[in-house]
């Protein structure tokens, strides 16, 4: 078994004739944390949505664990999404369900776990992230930081092999960013493989094993945080970093 969890090769994706991804390549090793940076509109969200099949690609291949081709015509996308979790900028919790029901819904319905088992698992996860006291609350009673952490727990309850985070702190009050980033830090320490689009450069520098700078639909530059942040090679990367770090 190779150590590559995700292998993206030559992926193209256009919306109404506008190519957002232009033959993008990206390889992710198991237990690796990959951080995607790049200007707004550079295709970070589109790439993440292609990876778990929320968008279909126009060309190229996305191979998960060497055996499941997300981009193939016949692939069962529900099977893909069982193995890849995603958390969005807007938490998208289900407002008509309690926190506990939000977390147990898909283990019960998709993995066919018993109510008791999924509840036990959910409570353990909520406990681990300091949310046990919120289990029977409805989402409208949560702060943004709590809501986003519940969204992360909800995705984790499916025990994904790969987690995608799409600017999960961008909608948060600055005071609440820290608690959500702590959660990601915790997951990274636990060995979860993750890809994260973010504008939190300090955090990227700290947790990333690989930083990818997206520009015009390709990964223009990638490397360790030291390399990309310390001595960026491409003019566009330098320009972007200068703008965002100023």
């Amino acid at each position: 078994m190779t150590n590559t969890l995700l292998d993206i090769a030559g992926v193209w994706k256009a919306f109404e004739g506008n190519s957002v991804l232009r033959g993008l390549d990206l390889s992710v090793t198991r237990h690796e944390a990959v951080v995607l940076i790049g200007a707004s509109g550079s295709g970070k969200s589109t790439l993440l949505r292609c990876i778990n099949g929320l968008e279909t690609v126009d060309a190229g291949s996305i191979l998960l664990a060497g055996d499941l081709d997300v981009s193939a015509f016949k692939t069962d996308m529900d099977a893909v999404r069982r193995r890849i979790g995603i958390v969005f900028q807007s938490y998208n919790l289900f407002p008509h369900m309690t926190v506990l029901d939000n977390v147990t819904l898909s283990p019960r319905k998709v993995l066919k776990r018993s109510a008791a088992d999924s509840k036990e698992q959910a409570m353990a996860l909520l406990e681990r992230f300091g949310l046990a006291g919120k289990a029977s609350d409805y989402p409208d009673r949560l702060s943004g930081g709590q809501a986003q952490r519940v969204a992360i727990v909800r995705a984790l309850a499916m025990e994904p092999e790969l987690m995608l985070f799409d600017e999960i702190t961008s909608a948060l009050d600055p005071l609440l960013v820290g608690e959500v980033l702590d959660t990601v830090r915790d997951l990274k320490a636990g060995g979860l493989t993750l890809i994260m689009a973010t504008h939190e450069m300090g955090f990227a520098r700290e947790v990333a094993d690989q930083v990818c700078f997206l520009d015009a639909g390709v990964v223009l530059e990638k490397g360790t945080p030291e390399a990309v942040f310390g001595s960026p090679q491409e003019a566009k990367t330098q320009e972007f970093l200068a703008r965002i770090l100023k």
């Binding site: 929320l54 069982r82 898909s106 319905k109 949560l142």
Partner: protein
Amino acid sequence: MSGWPVPRRRTSRSNVTLVTSATTAPGAPEVYFDPVRQAYRRKRARRDALVGMASLLGFVLVVGFAISRTSGWPLVQETFFNGSEFIATFPGLLDAFLLNVRIFLIAEPLILIIGLLVALARDLRSPLLLPLRVVATLYVDIFRGVPTILVIFLLGFGVPALQLQGVPNNTVFWGTAALVLSYGAYVAEVFRAGIGSVHSSQRMAARSLGLTSLQTSRYVVLPQAVRNVIPPLLNDFISLQKDTALVSVLGPIELLRQAQIDASSTFNYTAYVGAALIFIALTIPMTRFADWVQARMRKRRSMAGTA
């Protein structure tokens, strides 16, 4: 600056209102009301209520007096508000109204079921199920376009005229069926609007958790959609309560028909007023209930907005 005393956290018990809750430390006030301000507010609320009642009473007296002084009033009173006529006809009207209630109670659940199924069928995307979608769309187009009374005529007089074997020729049956078909089309559109009101990010979040399209509809979209359309649905209920009277054109003795019989035998219209009162007696509580539900949902929504 004379005016309000500076609120202090704890003063003597007699003039401070302490509202403590389980979540705060014992003894620490969660809500503090300045007693002077509170007394002023109470006084003003009492005064507002009094002024309102007095103003309303004055209005009713003036209008009532003006009406009773018009030259035609005795005749109007005799024709529409005749006490002995009212006493003679009202029990019969109440009796006849039981049929309206029956029609309503049978029609309403069927309307909800048909409405929901048709709404779901109209949003089907599978090419194999295209016929279902077309039928549902045609149904809505047709039954929303044709006046309810015309559907009642068509079914109530038309179908029995065919004298088909095994098909009931009971007028109440066909009148109810016509109401169900007509209202089903409206309610289907209400449900569809409700489904559309659930943000697409909810569906996306559910799908990204591995739920199938069907599971997403069942557990995530529909519960929210139904909740969102409860106020308009209650409105349609109220409308249906009244429209049960339309079945009278087919002949069964329901409330309106009974009133018509009473009125035509005496040339006095008090029975119609009695019938109106009965309809109102049922719709007013429903309307207030709908208002209450709507207000509650608005409150919940604005609370969610600040979270």
